[in-house]
Symmetry: C2
């Protein structure tokens, strides 16, 4: 089942069920007005949503219409919790190396996770507003899950059953602000502005065999200004799987329904070295910080700049037939001029 | 105007207007079902809520009933954003001193702030569940504001007008988990479980002259097992006022309506030294970490333990006549036994 949220009906938008091929959608006002409302009572909502999805697939859904990702907000336009892990420890190691920071061995056994802002997510085709290019605007292509209510101290085994939906994320980062901010000791704040999400959130069964071991075994494609930038497999080199990340988030607290837990920047070590660009036959990268790190290691300094105003970022994941699973995050970086 | 949220009608509860003396309340279904809904369209909701408050004060509100804080959830039972500052830099300096951490001079000019979890707040009279006393369970008595929509890069001057409500907070902290967590570099996560809020949120005008310079000039009273523990003035030694904290939160992103911004642990330097207990004529403390720090400075090691299961914490703020402004946070620390 695939779900999306139209930008209509208020701040939380309007929940729609989307066809598998992303061509058609249908509103479901009799089931739940919003995705959060559905998640608040998922056990009751899910079978009804699946019934609507089944009607949509066989062309029997009244009021179905052509699905347009540009009409979409993030599946949860605002959420009560967004926790982002760093499950691809390869990425963490590379980025720390670039800024001369040691990596404690515990990073391979104890997940890193930060609490992100969740009050105003960016729609999949909406612009990323930033104040200055000097902030070092970067994409971070990730996969994320949405949970129902998760009890405190849940085991990873039990956490797996609380994963109800998956999405793609662009966890926009302001790299220039990170070193000073982390030096203050309280974690990210200014350096992690609003994140963007894919048009569609899907139930795990939509991924078929690609959803196994608590990971999504499909390539995550990133493009900058239409040029292929990354295609690492999200199922490879993921040190901590999603159930483990959810359990980590719930270690000392209950998680409310609609909690989003991210994978962190997807990164592979397939190349056997620090990572090659796609142009050189590698799998590329899911953020500019990583290619800059690799360049620093190889050439003594980065050669690739961060994002500029007017640049476009596209993030998408194809199924085995090449069809887009979640629809594309496709957005422009724009200067924020005040309001 | 004073507002509260009853634990009825769903996860977001039911908004009520509360009388100034906290004796009576009335539901306002014709205005807004929940506090978040009111904040989502505050310009429209505020005058209607004020009219209901005025009717309640003069005994003309149909359906008014006796107000019971034990029937309350947090004013926002769940929120889209909870950002907690550390505006009482005295507290930060003391706590860092205790763990042997340097304090950069920039801490006096650039606010510290962390992103907190906001998906499941604790009601004012509900228990604080924790897994182990060994985690070092601590209270942190604070003041917080709730904003409407705040544009990115707002000035402190303009931010002042976005402060719509004030509350008290118990920002429960697990001190034993903080050093290892901060050493990982991503900020607090396990060490900052769910926070508790006062029964009532009030508009700034309810504070009269005590709300000036963007600060609340009233003592914040904390009690542990009924014994007075702290009475520092929230208007004293607050290095960064609330408009400054809100502007800091909005530096690189828009803040959604219903964003909660906290002051951090209230701490005074009135004693001229590291801070005296109330029993010795001082203003005491708003968290155990601070008294333990002072004990370490004076005696070489802490003498006061952290909270134990069965302990009770009470946090309250009196007006000039001694009446409670926000009602009391009054809660027991309990062992979480799984679910």
């Amino acid at each position: 089942m695939k779900l999306a949220t139209l930008k209509e009906g208020g701040r939380d938008g309007t929940l729609v069920v989307v066809s598998r091929d992303l061509a058609r959608a249908v509103r479901v006002p009799d089931v739940a007005p919003t995705l959060q409302a559905a998640l608040d009572d998922w056990a009751a909502a899910e079978p009804k949503l699946r019934a609507a999805a089944e009607r949509l697939e066989r062309g029997a859904a009244d009021g179905a219409f052509a699905f347009d990702p540009r009409a979409c907000a993030a599946p949860l336009p605002r959420a009560y919790q967004w926790c982002d892990g760093s499950a691809y420890v390869n990425h963490v190691e590379l980025v720390r190396k670039a800024r001369g920071a040691e990596m404690p061995p515990s990073f391979w056994t104890d997940p890193l996770m930060y609490q992100g802002g969740s009050d105003r997510f960016i729609g999949p085709c909406d612009p990323v507003e930033a104040i200055s290019e000097a902030h070092g605007i970067d994409l971070e292509a990730e996969v994320a899950v949405i949970t129902d209510d998760v009890p405190m101290a849940v085991t990873p085994e039990a956490a797996a059953g609380h994963i109800k939906l998956l999405m793609l994320v662009n966890d926009v980062s302001l790299r220039g602000l990170i070193p000073a901010e982390l030096a203050k000791g309280f974690g990210f704040f200014h350096s992690k502005p609003a994140s963007s999400f894919s048009p569609v959130a899907v139930t795990p069964d939509e991924l078929g065999g690609a959803w196994r071991d608590g990971k999504v075994h499909r390539p995550l494609l990133s493009f900058i200004n239409g040029e292929p930038f990354g295609r690492p497999d999200a199922g490879v080199d993921m040190t901590f799987d999603f159930p483990r990340l959810v359990a980590h988030a719930a270690a000392t607290r209950h998680l409310g329904a609609g909690t989003i837990v991210g994978s962190g920047t997807v990164s592979n070590k397939l190349d056997g070295g620090p990572g090659k660009p796609i142009g050189e036959g590698g799998v590329g990268y899911s953020c500019l910080a990583e290619v800059r790190t690799v360049e620093t290691i190889l050439h003594g300094q980065p050669r690739t700049g961060f994002l500029r105003f007017g640049d476009r970022v596209r993030i998408e994941m194809p199924d085995e037939s090449g069809a887009s699973i979640f629809g594309a995050i496709d957005q422009e970086i724009v200067r924020y001029g005040g309001r």
